[in-house]
Amino acid sequence: MNDETLMDVRELEVQFRARRGVARAVDGVSLEWRRGEVLGVVGESGSGKSTLARAMLGLVPSAAGAVELEGRAVNGKASLGELRRRVQMIFQDPYQTLNPRQRVGTIVTEPLIVQGVPRGEHEARVRRALEDVGLDPERFGGRYPYQLSGGQRQRVAIAAALVLEPEGLICDEPVSMLDASVRTQILAVLGELKRRRGLGLVFITHDLSLAWALCDRIAVMYLGRVVEQGSAPDVIERPQHPYTQALVTAVPVPSAGGGGRRELLSGELPDATAVPSGCRFHPRCPRRFGPCDRVDPPLIATGGSQLAACLLHDPALATEVQAARGD
């Protein structure tokens, strides 16, 4: 870690008791989130990305590992309280995220009350937060959530997160339920906040094109594990992990002629209670070879900013990889 680091996640594990056993939703994830940086966490449903977000804020108990805020471990009430003041969260469903019985003004004021901010500051800060997300405080302050559109709700949620003037914002699929034209509005708001306030974002999404447009760095998750991470252009333009490669090519491109060659994966994501042995991606991997079903690969530097958890990049196995390609 360095001075730039806002949060550090180390070997974090989160487990749930499921019907068929214990689901390892997050299974040893390490991440570094720097100040003012947009960190994308990309993955399909079931990859554990939302659980990771919640675990980062201590909303779900972690089984192992640590979360550090500026180098200090977050454990105990005081440090958790500090974390929750400085890092806020935005949720996916704009229809679920607001208390239907509270007015917009109340919703945005609530964090100030909870965190014990002096009453005199409330009005000015709420106004500023609402204006920052493009909502007129006079028009919207007295409305109930049901009087708002989906996009407006998500703006209110962002305002409520901003009102405490956090340094970081964890956004869990903030636009996945919005229509295309509204989606870009919200993303613009977030981008604007990053630019003007130097706000750091953790942007959790399944949509690679959004990550491409918005993120500085990207971590790709598969089945509770980060399989590749690096700067956004590197990861998306030169993906090193077969899963990332498939993911990138699977994204349909809205332009004449569509995208290029698709890399089709077989099968579907396995259950988190039954993680495959060895590399957890190997049953679906088009490039699996010899040791993949036995060796669980660590993140291996592949040059530049990138790390990939794939044996293809293990220098010790280079000959075998060569042989496999030869087949």
Partner: protein, 334 residues
Amino acid sequence: MSALLKVSDLRVEYRGQPIVDGVDLALERGEAMGLAGESGCGKTTTALALMKLLPPALKQSGAVTLRPPGVEEPINVGRRTEAGMRRVRWRHVSLVFQGAMNSLDPVQRVDAQIAEAIRLHESAGAKEVRARIDELLTTVGLTPALGRRYAHQLSGGQRQRMMIALALACRPSLVIADEPTTALDVTIQAQVLQLLESLRERLGLALILISHDLGVLAETCDRIAIMYAGRIVETGPVSSVFEAPQHPYTKRLLDSLPVIGGPRALGDPIPGGPPDPGEMPEGCRFRPRCPYAADRCLSDPALRETSAGHASACHFAPWSEWPAAAGAGSLEAG
């Protein structure tokens, strides 16, 4: 060869409010047509209207004519009775819904549901039906054993494949797929889209693909129609529409979508949101959100052809050059 499907001036009203407002469409045999639009623009309603499946509260008018291969007389859907429509449905046109979980009867085995559809339209013996089901399942890439399962015992991708198998059960000439991949992850979506494409080639199916995802349509369809607030605002060959959009809505939408491989920045968003059916703006419905709006936009623009097969409902079309938009990048809430 005449068009497989011809829709003219299709209107659907709910409590006196227009939800679909004068839609014209034409589809050739074997052609794939994309229908794009945001939620609430009337694309699903249009799809259901084509099969006359709307709830009675939704009043439908306008002409829908089908000319399936091997049928002499064109089928006038608008005039058909419920009983008459039953012979058309699935035999000639079938449907794939977005939530495959909810599209299959949860307490009946899936093969029974396919068999039911087959028996309904053809007199086939039990063995014949069985063989046909196995063949269908193989066609969509499933093992025949999966037919003995219930919907909940299948994964999302398998369910969608099963739904496609059901749609193909009576060998229709047209399949309407309404957001067939929305609930799926990208890797599974890619599988399903691939399947649809290959089926279309092999069976000569015509396809109406409804989606909010322009990328999906760009990769799958020959032609595309963009809907906005109950109307088609632009239609044309995929290449032409994506390369040279002729309606500000299409243009702004495409500009605002981030594209992998494109610039690593967010485009300017379209301000505001789509109108309520009860409060439709006068004239062009996109006018309040349009940066190019002028006085003439207060009158209704007709869908006019700007080049071969490419039409736009904009008074200013054809656009040869798009000027820089005024008021772009506004953060005003939609």
